[in-house]
């Protein structure tokens, strides 16, 4: 098994409270993994730790076998871990295309001098960036909105744009924090299809947090359940649904898998 990401005993302590306590995970390349758990269980915090947006109190993270604990957040992105946010965080006053371009450009090759001189290599590279971004927007079905300011997009499209933006960085691992939140059942079914498609097209590994059980159970090959910062279960959708601890802490009753 080709392990893409491994976290060992991650802990995040806030003043009186351990938001994440000794969390470990191993995710293999190409997998779609789910992370569920009651509100406040520490799911978002876990994502924050994995992307260095929050410093861990202890524990280690390895990505493609390399230790990345404590690496700066922007470098994590460059290494190939990208994410979306639970509360959408787009560059609101920039256009859809600009949002994607900014993410796409981390691979740019020109330097400051060629910017000033607008050298051929600069122009070539810029064109390449734009082309690549447009292509991505096409894939995500956002091409017609490319010149609209992000703040003016409908909510569903904003979520898609956030995914597009993360993809533009060229990640190997994509972390999605409640991608289906605020979507109605038809919209979330559509999103499920899209995520599968993206996984295949971009050879992604996906790790997602979601409260929509239909969504998680259908999409994820393996699911982890977090409660009070610790894992209480890990396994396939079927295993999770029938785990009594999970039912009492989280599900309330077994979900009828669709």
């Amino acid at each position: 098994m080709d392990v893409l990401l491994e976290a060992i005993e991650l802990t995040k302590q806030y003043k009186g409270l351990k938001a994440v306590a000794g969390y470990s995970v191993k995710i293999s390349r190409g997998e779609i993994r789910g992370l569920i758990g009651p509100n406040g269980a520490g799911k978002t915090t876990t994502f924050n730790l994995l992307t260095s947006m929050v410093k861990s109190t202890s524990g280690n993270i390895y990505f493609e076998g390399k230790k990345i604990t404590g690496v700066r957040a922007d470098q994590i992105a460059r290494l190939g871990i990208c994410r979306t946010f639970q509360n959408i965080r787009l560059f609101k006053n920039l256009t859809v295309l600009e949002n994607v371009l900014i993410a796409a450009q981390i691979k740019k090759k020109y330097n400051f001098m060629s910017v000033l001189l607008s050298s051929p290599s600069f122009l070539r590279e810029e064109k390449h960036l734009v082309d690549r971004s447009l292509e991505l927007l096409e894939t995500m079905g956002l091409i017609n909105a490319k010149d609209i300011k992000a703040r003016n997009l409908p909510y569903g499209q904003q979520r898609k744009l956030e995914i597009a933006r993360a993809l533009a960085v060229g990640p190997k691992l994509l972390l999605l924090d409640e991608p289906a939140a605020g979507m109605n059942p038809s919209e979330s079914t559509e999103l499920m299809g899209l995520i599968r498609y993206l996984r295949d097209k971009f050879k992604l590994t996906i790790f997602l947090i979601e409260h929509d059980m239909k969504f998680v159970m259908n999409l994820c090959e393996k699911i982890q359940v977090l409660n009070y910062g610790t894992l209480i279960a890990e396994g396939s959708a079927a295993e999770i649904q029938n785990n009594p601890d999970v039912i009492s802490a989280y599900l309330g009753r077994a979900v009828e898998s669709a």
Binding site: T51, M53, R72, A73, D74, Q75, A77, R78, C82, R83, F85, R89, L90, F91, K92, N93, L94, T95, L97, E98, L101, I102, A103, Q105, I106, K108, Y110, F112, V115, L116, S118, F122, L123, E126, K127, L129, V130, K146, D147, R165, A166, A168, V169
Partner: protein, 336 residues
């Protein structure tokens, strides 16, 4: 930065022609001005140009990167003093600044290299101060940079051997003329426009919009913020030097609160985050008091009514005008 940046590549092709036409027009206008205007009006034209340099560069940090800096005047001071000291003839230093450290006492450089050295020195300072301070946000950053300005001011006031303290350095060579000023202004506009239409500029606006998200897509916050701050500092220093050599003096008072706020006023009145706005703000806020309000307060006959002398009226009217503009056009006169 606007939606059009996508078309940047296309535009680049027609650009040389448009740019050349613009430059020729500017040259012609300056030529005519130089010919018909007397020293006073030329000074105003110069002031306008210098303020364009300063406001456009301030706009890069405050408008495009969302770094609320009040440190521009400090960089102007660094530039103004550096160039004043480098271009002062050695013989004059001997009598005027007898206690100057010897490495300064014996140098004499022409204007252009001095300007560049001043700019680079400001860049170094920008990195030194920016590295710790740019971690702050919003108003906290604003006061910290304001503090930087005060500290530079206090240093200038107290290193009298070099700066003559509060008295400033006077009788500087009147190097600044409209050619220098507008050449630098054009370069400033060009550089900032190029930067904005590159990955650097986009990263800057991304930071302004949401720094956390920017980080999440691989933008190195520290280095991009520093770059923005440093580019601003570079042009501020050169603007400060041009300013000093226009007034033929530099003194700490020149580079203090009123200068700083004056620049922010131009920025906001014109329209923060827009290059034409910055230019427009610089022009209007420079000209309004100089050509109109100052005359009004000295007493004037208006449509047969004699208005008496009322010094202070220009500041009052200017303040009221600013407040009204901001209330009715909160995004500035040219803001979107």
């Amino acid at each position: 930065m606007d939606a059009g940046l996508v078309e940047a590549t296309n535009r680049q092709k027609q650009l040389p022609f448009k740019a050349a036409a613009g430059l020729i027009l500017l040259f012609a206008v300056l030529m005519v001005m130089n010919f018909v205007l007397n020293g006073y009006y030329l000074r105003i034209v110069n002031l306008v140009g210098i303020n364009i340099i300063l406001v456009v560069s301030l706009n890069l940090t405050n408008g495009f990167t969302g770094i609320f800096s009040l440190g521009h005047a400090a960089f102007m001071a660094i530039g103004g003093y550096t160039v004043a000291l480098l271009t002062m003839p050695v013989e004059r230093k001997a009598v005027y600044l007898p206690d100057l450290p010897s490495f300064l006492a014996h140098v004499y450089l022409p204007f252009l290299p001095s300007l560049i050295i001043a700019g680079l020195l400001a860049v170094i300072c920008a990195y030194l101060i920016g590295y710790p301070v740019l971690k702050l946000r919003g108003h906290y950053l604003a006061v910290a940079t304001l503090g930087f300005m005060v500290i530079i001011n206090v240093l200038i006031m107290n290193f009298r051997d070099i700066t003559r303290g509060n008295s400033g350095l006077t009788g500087l060579q009147p190097y600044t003329n409209i050619w220098w000023t507008y050449a630098v202004a054009v370069i400033t506009l060009y550089v900032i426009w190029r930067v904005l239409n590159s990955t650097y500029g986009r990263a800057m606006t991304a930071i302004r919009e949401d720094d956390l998200a920017a980080e999440a897509v691989g933008v190195n916050l520290v280095s991009i913020k520093l770059m923005s701050f440093a580019i601003g500092a570079f042009f501020a220093a050169i603007g400060g030097a041009l300013y000093g050599h226009l007034l033929t003096m530099v003194s700490p008072n020149d580079f203090s609160y009123s200068m700083m706020f004056g620049l922010v006023v131009m920025l906001v009145v014109g329209g923060i985050g827009s290059i034409p706005g910055a230019v427009f703000g610089a022009v209007i806020v420079t000209l309004l008091p100089e050509l109109f309000l100052n005359k009004l307060e000295r007493g004037i006959d208006l449509l047969g009514i004699h208005l008496p002398q009322m010094f202070g009226v220009s500041q009052v009217l200017m303040s009221v005008a600013i407040i009204l503009i901001v209330i009715f056009k909160p995004k500035g006169l040219l803001g979107k």
